[in-house]
Amino acid sequence: MTQYLLYPGCSMEGSAKAYNLSLMEIIKPLGFQIEEIEDWNCCGATEYVGISLTPAYALISRNLALAARQARGNATVVAPCSACYLNLAKADYYMNERPTLGTNVNKALAAGGLHYDPGSLTIRHLLDVIINDIGLDYVKQQVVQPLKGLRVAPYLGCMVPRPDYDHRWSGYEYPTELDRLLKALGAEVIDFPLKTECCGGHMPQISTSTAFELIRRLLHDAELYQADLMVTVCPMCQMNLDAYQGETNRHFKTKFHIPILFFTQLMGLAFGIDAKKLGIGLELVSAKAALKKIGVEVPIDETQKPTKRGKKEGLPMPQMPGDEEVG
């Protein structure tokens, strides 16, 4: 039996908390045994590789070495984040393709008492494991609340379908696996033309005009197809499309309102799991109206409850005790 080791990645504890919560909830109904890699470190995202090659690959490979040591026999490393998944897969692939890189990485790892033989682990994205190992038939059997009437844009982004070293997907540019998973949950899936286009990656931090245009395209397309919401498989895509949707709207004077949820959250809803446990409500672009269509109440965020002062418009201002009685 294949053993699954989880590489969560840094975002799962922060901006993509909803992804983590929902993943932990659906593990049980899926009968999925998965164990976290102990003391894993950041994969370096797309930043370290742009600074220095050997340290960047040594950083990634420490995780592979830890995972290989923790594994008992054949093991598959599962990453829910597309960037983490690709970095881990790339290290495994390039250490083989360029033996000098492999040798240098292992020399560096040896300084920390570690070693990794490329090819000894299988690196896969969470979506791939759910679709290809657990299978859509099994997923379908767990559905108790079909997402009937919910129009969903299936959005994969870049790094899951490309470069796809192991040829796990039906295409680099228009794979249909996520569509089929969402259909198995009972959702109405739009034929989303931009499903593997870029969300902007780290561009909101580098070049805003580039980033906002990439975000705008995706939102515009989802709106044209009258999607109630968009589903992502990556923390960075979720962050860019959800958190920067407001800034994008201001930049283009548009009024897009497309909630962005993780595919695991929709799986959880279809499995009849409580919305709050799935991290629904943590999205900045509210999914309230969209989820009402399938009879799901978005939990009220305690911190967002209106207060007496909250009635006033404008930015919160510093205040002293007793201020509220004045005026």
Binding site: D39, L53, L59, C158, Y244, P316
Partner: protein, 194 residues
Amino acid sequence: MIAQPVNPNDPNPNLRFLEEVSAATAGVARLEMCIQCGTCGGSCPSAADMNHTPRMLFAMIRAGMREDALKSNTPWICVSCYHCVVRCPQDVHITDVMYTLKSMAIRAKLYQDSTGPDFSATFVDMVENYGRSFELGLASLHYLKHFPLRLPGMAPMALGLLSKKRMGMMPTRIKGIDQLKTILERAKELEAEK
């Protein structure tokens, strides 16, 4: 363009830059295989903001135009979407070549806009010290320095992320941070020896 010193005994001195880029790239770059078809630029979602399309940049590298190539904003505008990589008829590792050019431009201090290099440097600094990325620290440092005018407009988003606890207030440090630091120090030595 400033002419590079030329070794009179080298019959193809301009090819040395191409070799240098290829040698510094993860995997086998296959940069010399480029047939200048332009599929990369035509597939690129951010080409409109680039000084040179990838095709042009590769021609410059092959022509030994080191300084012009390292001054180009192209690698910094690349979004790592891998569309060009899967469409390239010659299997050039385009995205990885872009990473190489970034690291070479930083070392040669040739790229003028510091936004991209600073973001990478701040990110890497946090990872080297904690073993994990720290979104809040990274974002505040970076936006204060490079995008102060965006801050008022970003306030609702920042408040939303903080109130929904989607940003940790403190960085997490891994247990094996000393081990990681030792590994990275050794890796940097090896990188310098190349």
